[in-house]
């Protein structure tokens, strides 16, 4: 199960990279990177997963004393939360950029923005 999740995660990352490298449309590139981000989140979660254990939430069923033996690793989950937040920020910024770029040239083709080179 863990390996399926991890493999799916990597597959999503590869799909994301493939999409980003083959689509010249700015919006499609952003979508591709979002897919890759999702893949990463999946990979991170799967790394922290331990079979047969429960979510890292301390309540009446899982006491603090027994936690170490019963919950999965909480750190990757915390990381994923942070990564998701950052991903949203970056995506928003890229979308804002795209809007401005579109206003400037009325195109979304990345190959049209090559005034700077060499």
């Amino acid at each position: 199960m863990v390996y399926i999740a991890m493999a799916t995660g990597f597959l999503l990352i590869l799909i994301g990279f493939y999409g980003a490298l083959t689509n010249r449309n700015l919006l499609r590139m952003i979508v591709a990177f979002s897919i890759a981000d999702t893949g990463i989140n999946l990979v991170i979660i799967s790394v922290g997963y331990l079979p047969g254990r429960t979510a890292p939430i301390l309540d009446t069923t899982v006491t603090a004393a027994a936690a170490a033996a019963r919950i999965i690793d909480p750190v990757p989950q915390a990381l994923v939360l942070t990564a998701i937040v950052i991903g949203v920020g970056v995506t928003a910024l890229m979308l804002a950029y795209t809007l401005k770029l579109y206003e400037k040239k009325r195109t979304l083709d990345i190959a049209k923005f090559t005034e700077l080179k060499w």
Partner: protein, 1041 residues
């Protein structure tokens, strides 16, 4: 001390608070921003103080009351304090610089700037790998925001390209982090470093991904097109932060990762770093856009520091000194240059000629490029020295060679740029100087010099900024407002005073050189009284050269010698560049000279075998197989200065185009630095063999060929000063030959040449310069008949050429006499024949000086010419007297040297009895010769006057064209192409093969660079592909290796 956490809190708090301000309250918002940045600087500076002065231990900062790995921890140590200070300072100064932009854009832009600075500080402070990732992302987002500060609309696409690559980077970083966490069970950097044996193997893909992601932020070649586009289009104040602060922060992040990965990963850092360093410098060659050029240079310098990070295993406790020296020199210089670029209206390199209206800014520019090129007395210089000796000590020669090659490329384009500034036409738009934009530039200059002092102090060598001659030279920078004649007097007084105070310290050999430099220099300075006005830039440059020369002959150890060598090189470059048409020649001079200097550096580094420095005398202790290589490197380095054939192409232009009083300085005095180096080298290392070849024998050949070809090239020259310049190549060839003979008389002859060449070449350059000043041309065929109008110049030239040609009775003959004796006691035949052949050729060109300039018909437009200016004539007359005195009493200078040389070559000295000097083969009595020649000459002259008393003078127009109208008037002048028949016969020997070789080489480099930079086609997607390909290729190369 205030906790370092408040750096982050201040920035975040201020940025947060900015959001509450009304949009109209921009001045308040700006004040708040500046206040936050000042506070952040205060904290960093306070910590630097605590660590440096009190020697406190690094402090761990726990963020939530738990120790790591349960919570994120930060660390404040000396490195962190210094780097955050660098980041905060560049942030503050850039904020100052950006005043107009920030006020126009409002509080949001200020918040982004604060976040950028905060994120970079966070990268430096944090000890948690995931926290590092968060700060990376913050820095990336803030960077993408700040790129938009630019007025350049193209910045928009540059920002997007950056976002694409940043996305790819963060993907790799996250994967790397999570698997490294999986392997070690912690996110704490120090914890990872301890826990992980797996990551340290060099085969861990998790660590590889983390590391390559961090390295990608350092803009490695070729995955760096995005960075170049940012550098080109962003606001220069942001580029200053991006280059100085971001570079420093990401480099420190790479250092943290290497701490985790350990020594197994060092070669990877070095490999990526050095490839980037060389490639970026190469691709910078054909750049014309200033900011893009600076971008290439930034990338290169970051690459160099990355390469140094990978060498920490051999740098030991000098690691921070070397890496810090290179990093700070780069950061300060690059920030300063970007700030400067904001003052320039045009974006092409020659547009920077606008700086000429502001000498202070030129000084700033010079400071910055000197820092980047690693010249003394800046931190990069000390760092370069340490790095070279440690690399050579460990046998990492290839790396050293690549570093020096890249550094030479970089110096090449930086100094070419400086040439544009000084020589190109000033653009119409002036430098826009407002105080808040000027202040950061000045601050960078001050910081550069202060760090130069600091690094000198830390270096363990003598602090160059405490050397009296250098301080004296630098003090002329403060005296620039004085009129030239006062500065001239000060210069002369200072040099003579220094000689009087120190002459007792020199051995006879060094005494000769010190007299030429410290007494001969002032004599030439007499000619400088002719110049009026303030002559800005002349005295600091000239005095820097003399300071270098003085320190050179006073140096006892390798470090002092090399530092002096670089100083005199730079000083003379500025001096040579002053000539009206000197731009290309000064450039080739500095490139050859720096190339030579790097050879010397490499030679010393090899010879030191890991020691920080060594006594020059201990060069004699070197043994096979190292010794011959050291010998070759040092000899090549010195021969770039003596302009040995093959390395000579800079000389004719540099000496010929220089100003009237500069030509004798750089010819009469500066060339002796190379000879002095060779003397030191041969005196200590003597004869060396490589694969059975006697290296001094090779030197003999080089000397002989230089003499022959230098003289041959001189005879076909139409330009009087260039003729003299070519003649110097020949003369230096004689001196090299004499030294390479490795016997007593050979050395005596070389020293005789040192003295003679100083006197007569200075004199001839002055008279040629004086004549050129009056006639307005240096082409000899445009002159003629000046003997009656400029009799004193004529006398000086006549005496000069008699002395050069080595006929009795003047001192040149003494040189020849010793020379003939010297080769009689040597067993080399063929080079000797070549050298004999060169002698008469000298007559040919010397004859033209008299014949074409002073004899023959006076040109119509020259009828009202006056004698050359008094101050140019005066030193010539002093030289005439000196030549006559030295001709009659050569023992004054040579006798003590002769005795001194006995300790090196006990055999074959001269006997000095009364006025007669005798050797094994004969004797020479200068006084008798002088009297004999004077009597013969006097009688013949009287007889000539008597028989010619009724001769009719041929007038100007007693000439018939036989019905033809001359197509180009100069072609009918008898003195034009004077030696055409010889050219037919010998022309093949003076074909500019060497020039073609070197220009072919530079063309090749440029063409290759121009072709390769098309890799950066401007498409963001291609850049993303570069990045992916870079990662894949590096991975396979790495695991394959």
């Amino acid at each position: 001390m205030v906790s370092a956490l408040y750096i982050l809190i201040a920035a975040l708090g201020a940025a947060f608070f900015l959001g509450f301000l009304k949009d109209g309250m921009r001045a308040t918002a700006y004040a708040l921003t500046l206040a936050a940045l000042v506070f952040m600087n205060f904290i960093s500076a306070g910590w630097v103080w605590v660590f440096v002065v009190d020697g406190a231990a690094p402090v761990e900062i726990l963020t939530s009351g738990f120790p790591p790995p349960f919570a994120i921890n930060l660390r404040m140590g000396l490195t962190e304090a210094a780097l955050t200070l660098l980041v905060n300072l560049s942030g503050l100064l850039s904020a100052l610089y950006l005043k107009d932009v920030l006020l126009a854009l409002g509080r949001r832009s200020m918040a982004v700037l604060l976040i950028a600075v905060m994120a970079l500080c966070g990268i430096i402070l944090t000890r948690d790998i995931f926290n590092l990732f968060v700060f990376f992302e913050l820095a990336a987002i803030a960077t993408a925001g700040l790129i938009l500060l630019s007025e350049d609309k193209r910045a928009l696409s540059a920002g997007f390209k950056y976002m694409i690559v940043a996305q790819a980077i963060s993907v790799l970083l996250l994967i790397g982090i999570i698997f490294s966490y999986h392997a070690t069970g912690t996110l704490n950097i120090d914890g990872m470093a301890e826990a992980s044996t797996e990551l340290k193997t060099g085969a861990s893909i998790a660590f590889f991904l983390m590391f390559i992601a961090v390295v990608a932020e350092l803009k490695p070649f070729p995955a760096n097109g995005w960075a170049l586009d940012i550098y080109e289009s962003a606001h220069p104040a942001f580029s200053a932060i991006f280059s100085a602060a971001s570079g420093a922060a990401f480099l420190f992040a790479a250092d943290k990762l290497l701490h985790i990965g350990g020594a197994a990963w060092f070669p990877l850092a070095t490999g990526i770093g050095i490839v980037t360093f060389v490639a970026a410098n190469l691709l910078a060659l054909p750049q014309t856009n200033d900011r893009r050029l600076l971008g290439y240079s930034s990338i290169a310098q970051t690459g160099l520091v990355l390469a140094v990070l990978g060498q920490q295993d051999i740098l030991g406790d000098r690691y921070l000194f070397v890496a810090g020296g290179l990093l700070f020199a780069h950061s300060i210089a690059k920030a300063g240059l970007y700030w400067l670029s904001g003052l320039i209206a045009g974006r092409e390199l020659p547009d920077w000629a606008a700086l000429r209206s502001r000498p202070l800014l030129i000084f700033a520019f010079v400071t910055f490029i000197a820092m980047l090129s690693g010249l003394p007395p800046f931190p990069g210089f000390y760092a370069k020295w340490e790095l070279a000796r440690l690399l050579a000590g460990e046998g990492r020669i290839a790396l050293l060679a690549l570093i020096l090659f890249g550094a030479l490329l970089e110096a090449g384009y930086l100094f070419r740029w400086f040439g544009y500034i000084i020589k190109r036409e000033q653009p119409a738009q002036r430098v826009a100087c407002t105080p808040h934009k000027l202040a950061p530039v000045i601050a960078a200059v001050v910081a550069g010099w202060a760090l130069g002092y600091l690094w000198g102090d830390l270096s363990g060598h003598a602090n160059l900024l405490l050397a009296v001659p250098l301080l004296f030279a630098l003090s002329f920078l403060l005296l620039e407002w004085l009129p030239a004649w006062i500065k001239n007097t000060l210069a002369i007084a200072g040099m003579v005073a220094f000689f009087v105070l120190t002459y007792a310290e020199y051995d006879p050999l060094r005494l000769i050189f010190s007299v030429i430099i410290l007494i001969g220099g002032p004599i030439i300075f007499l000619a400088s009284y002719h110049e009026h006005g303030r002559r800005i830039g002349f005295y600091p440059a000239a005095m820097l050269m003399y300071a270098g020369l003085t320190l050179l002959i006073r140096a006892n150890d390798s470090f002092g010698f090399f530092a002096a060598w670089e100083m005199l090189t730079v000083g003379s470059y500025f001096l040579i560049l002053r000539g009206k048409h000197s731009e290309p020649h000064a450039l080739s001079y500095i490139i050859f000279s720096l190339g030579g200097a790097f050879m010397i550096l490499a030679g010393f580094a090899l010879a030191a075998q890991g020691a920080p420095q060594f006594d020059l005398a201990s060069l004699s202790l070197l043994t096979q197989p190292l010794a011959p290589w050291v010998f070759i490197l040092l000899a090549l380095g010195f021969m770039t200065k003596t302009a040995a054939i093959g390395l000579h192409i800079w000389l004719p232009g540099a000496h010929g185009e220089a100003e009237t009083d500069v030509s004798p300085m750089v010819s009469g005095i500066l060339l002796k630095a190379g000879l002095f180096g060779l003397i030191v080298l041969l005196m200590t290392m003597g004869k060396q063999q490589l694969y059975g070849i006697e290296l001094t024998h090779v030197l003999l050949w080089i000397g002989a060929l230089s003499a022959l070809l230098g003289n041959l090239m001189a005879i076909f020259e139409e330009d009087a000063k260039r003729l003299l310049a070519y003649s110097s190549i020949g003369q230096m060839g004689y001196a090299v030959f004499g030294l390479a003979l490795m016997n007593h008389l050979g050395w005596l002859m070389a020293l005789m040449f040192v003295i003679n060449h100083y006197i007569y070449k200075s004199m001839l350059f002055l008279s040629a310069g004086g004549v050129a000043k009056r006639t307005g041309t240096r082409d000899m065929y445009r002159m003629g008949g000046l003997i009656t109008l400029m009799p004193l110049s004529f006398i000086a030239t006549l005496i000069g050429i008699i002395a050069v040609s080595g006929v009795p009775p003047l001192s040149g003959f003494g040189g020849r006499w010793i020379f003939y004796n010297a080769i009689l006691s040597s067993d080399v035949r063929l080079p000797m024949v070549i050298l004999f052949f060169a002698g008469p050729i000298a007559f040919l060109y010397l004859f033209r000086l008299i014949h074409t300039i002073f004899l023959g018909q006076l040109k119509d437009e020259h009828r009202k010419l006056k004698e050359a200016p008094f101050w140019i004539i005066l030193p010539q007359m002093i030289f005439v007297v000196l030549l006559l005195v030295f001709a009659v009493a050569p023992g004054l200078a040579l006798r003590r040297v002769d005795t001194y040389l006995n300790q090196f070559f006990p055999e074959g000295g001269l006997n000095w009895a009364g006025t007669t000097i005798s050797s094994n083969y004969g004797y020479w009595n200068p006084v008798a010769i002088m009297i004999t020649v004077c009597v013969i000459f006097g009688s013949l002259f009287a007889w000539l006057l008597f028989v010619n008393r009724k001769a009719q003078k041929v007038k100007q127009f007693n000439i018939v064209f036989a019905g033809e109208r001359p197509y180009r008037p100069e072609t009918t002048h008898f003195a034009w192409n004077f030696f055409a028949p010889y050219r037919k016969a010998l022309g093949f020997m003076v074909q500019p093969f060497v020039t073609r070789f070197w220009s072919g080489l530079t063309d090749l480099l440029h063409a290759a660079a121009d072709l390769s930079r098309r890799l950066y086609n401007g498409n963001g997607q291609t850049y993303a592909f570069h990045f992916i390909a870079f990662v894949v290729v590096v991975y396979f190369l790495w695991t394959g290796v």
